[in-house]
Symmetry: C2
Subunit: 355 residues, 2 copies
């Protein structure tokens, strides 16, 4: 709860902060594996790898290499070297966020490690915006990755085991996204961010993350609209991280029960990245690389072109671990939302956060 005596216009309501300096996303990059490269968004990715090893000795090393490559491409696109960035904010799904720490070792700039499961992209963009808007940094790298095979063997079964997958299961995306957020430059701007609370509706099934995460997404979306005083049509697109088919349906129902009907302005990165009819991904995509590459590869392009004027990117994270699952705990979930506006002429600024 924001306390009244020090309220400023930087803070809107209970969970939302507004960036008056409008931090700019000056560059993004996405690197994905072969399966993601065969999906509907293939044209939007910077690099599609032919296999999931990327010439590395392990999947964990491959994931590290993927994050490092995405960061380098993002920096290169705006004519910068990685050493010219002030700060790296990064996270992934591996135990001890291995991929991020090892990528940070190569990049060798000030680094803060994050863990938000699949909410990590929005967490990193929120923190980057705070650093930029507050004047504590001028260029920040936000980087996020997941790798299907490194995640599968850590969270579920050895991939060689060939465990049968249930219809509610999601396919962890092999992909890394990197965004460079700056005080000055051209690109979509980050107008506000809503920091989520941990929500737990009692789901215990680690093969049904969508159901577990949907209530957290609903809470954050509703709180964001309340905090900013935005109407339901303030956004061209409200896009959740990776609820996939099962979770997306539950989110629609929860929002509807709260009186909010986003209609076809609601979509989900886990639904967008794969063709569920042909790619055998069950409910859809997941993993923090999912929202990372869908945003850095696909959505940012549409913001740059002006096709999208304003979006609310709502990254959802299931904060379980194999240990908590084995101990019979329910799954705590979180969702962080970032409002991103196109700076292309004639778009952006439609309703919303301008109070």
């Amino acid at each position: 709860m924001m306390t009244a005596q020090t309220a400023t216009t930087k803070r809107l309501g209970a969970q939302t902060i507004r960036f008056q300096g409008k931090p700019v996303i000056i560059s993004t990059a996405s690197v994905v594996g072969p399966k993601e490269g065969q999906g509907p968004l293939s044209a939007d990715f910077d690099v599609i790898k032919p296999d999931t090893h990327f010439g590395q000795a392990s999947w964990e090393h491959a994931e590290t290499a993927m994050m490092y490559e995405a960061a380098g491409i993002a920096a290169g696109k705006c004519g910068l070297g990685l050493q010219e960035l002030d700060l790296m904010l990064a996270g992934d799904l591996l135990n001890q966020t291995l991929a991020s720490s090892f990528a940070a070792r190569q990049i060798y700039i000030p680094f803060l490690g994050l863990y938000g499961a699949c909410s990590t992209l929005a967490e990193s963009m929120t923190l980057a915006s705070v650093f930029i808007d507050g004047g504590y940094a001028s260029r920040v790298l936000a980087a996020v990755s997941s790798h299907h095979d490194s995640a599968e063997r850590q969270y579920r079964y050895p991939t060689e085991f060939g465990a049968q997958r249930v219809p509610s299961a999601q396919w962890t995306v092999t992909g890394a996204g990197a965004a460079i957020i700056a005080a000055q430059g051209e690109g979509p701007v980050i107008a506000s961010a809503t920091i989520g609370k941990v929500v737990d509706f009692g789901i215990k099934d680690s093969n049904d993350m969508g159901s577990a995460m949907a209530p957290a997404a609903a809470q954050t979306i509703l709180q964001h609209l309340k905090d900013t005083g935005s109407p339901a049509d303030a956004y061209d697109l409200v896009v959740t991280g990776d609820l996939a088919e099962v979770g997306n349906k539950i989110l629609l129902k929860l929002l509807s029960e709260a009186g909010l009907n986003l209609g076809n302005r609601l979509d989900d990165c886990g639904l967008m990245i794969f063709d569920r009819q042909t790619q055998n991904v069950k409910s859809g995509g997941s993993g923090c690389g999912c929202s990372a590459v869908v945003f850095c590869g696909h959505l940012n392009s549409r913001l740059l072109s002006g096709e999208l004027g304003r979006i609310l990117l709502v990254c959802t994270g299931a904060l379980l671990s194999p240990t908590s699952y084995q101990q019979g705990d329910t799954i705590p979930c979180i969702a962080h939302a970032v409002c991103i506006e196109s700076s292309a002429s004639g778009k952006g600024g439609r309703g919303g956060t301008s109070t």
Copy 2:
């Protein structure tokens, strides 16, 4: 590297930020296990548990309960409920930072999860200060925990196995520390923070974390003094997170080679928390709970009394995982430093960051 065109007085040199608003540590709390309660700092902890289960069904649940209790005590000390805090920044050593996520579920305020291994306290205090100083929050909870038994079985061997410990090994502290950092109030203030880079000198032995982390601590300390233009005697105490005996000796040597002699103004939380002669902890204490309870329990009291005028708290983290160890990787390490000044009369403001 901080870029020249947007340099402000909030940024000092390559890695350091200065907090003009001087965020205040209005409250801290510490909860520890029985072994820590038998050590030299026992009088400074708020709660000493009689066993390591705390009435919970697992050590992971015990760790969660410990973090939640520390947070509640810290809030209570300044007359606040946990719901009156704007933001929780927390991390721990468990896979997927389980203790933090589950504690955040109970606290139910906006939450951002961090992973910095044993550097997490300084990471959380740095980020809290950015939120406070920038005007994005008025009261932030920084919370950090580790638990000897949950860590031991995750990182090394089942505790029942009774593996022999080598002299360079460190004993993971069972403890949780919580600090409430605010825009207004009474208490020590956070003047500046230096965000570390990942440093890796090629150490592979996960039973010798002190050797691995010492170079990161040296880099951050030297960079902090350079960035702030501080002389060697600017601090009453430069206290590293948990280098313990082996790492502390290496740090002394590295600093000496760089021309810096801190003499008896250099100490280490891993050396302070246990009596190595009688408590069989080998090189000393470790775990992110180590610096958390030494700061929240011991050092903060000495800042409050004015016994310490200004300290540099340098939390060191070894960013390895059992997977990286098994794959033969070396250990990437990081150290973040926070400059904390007493607000007690006649102390603080001795040399240093006032440029």
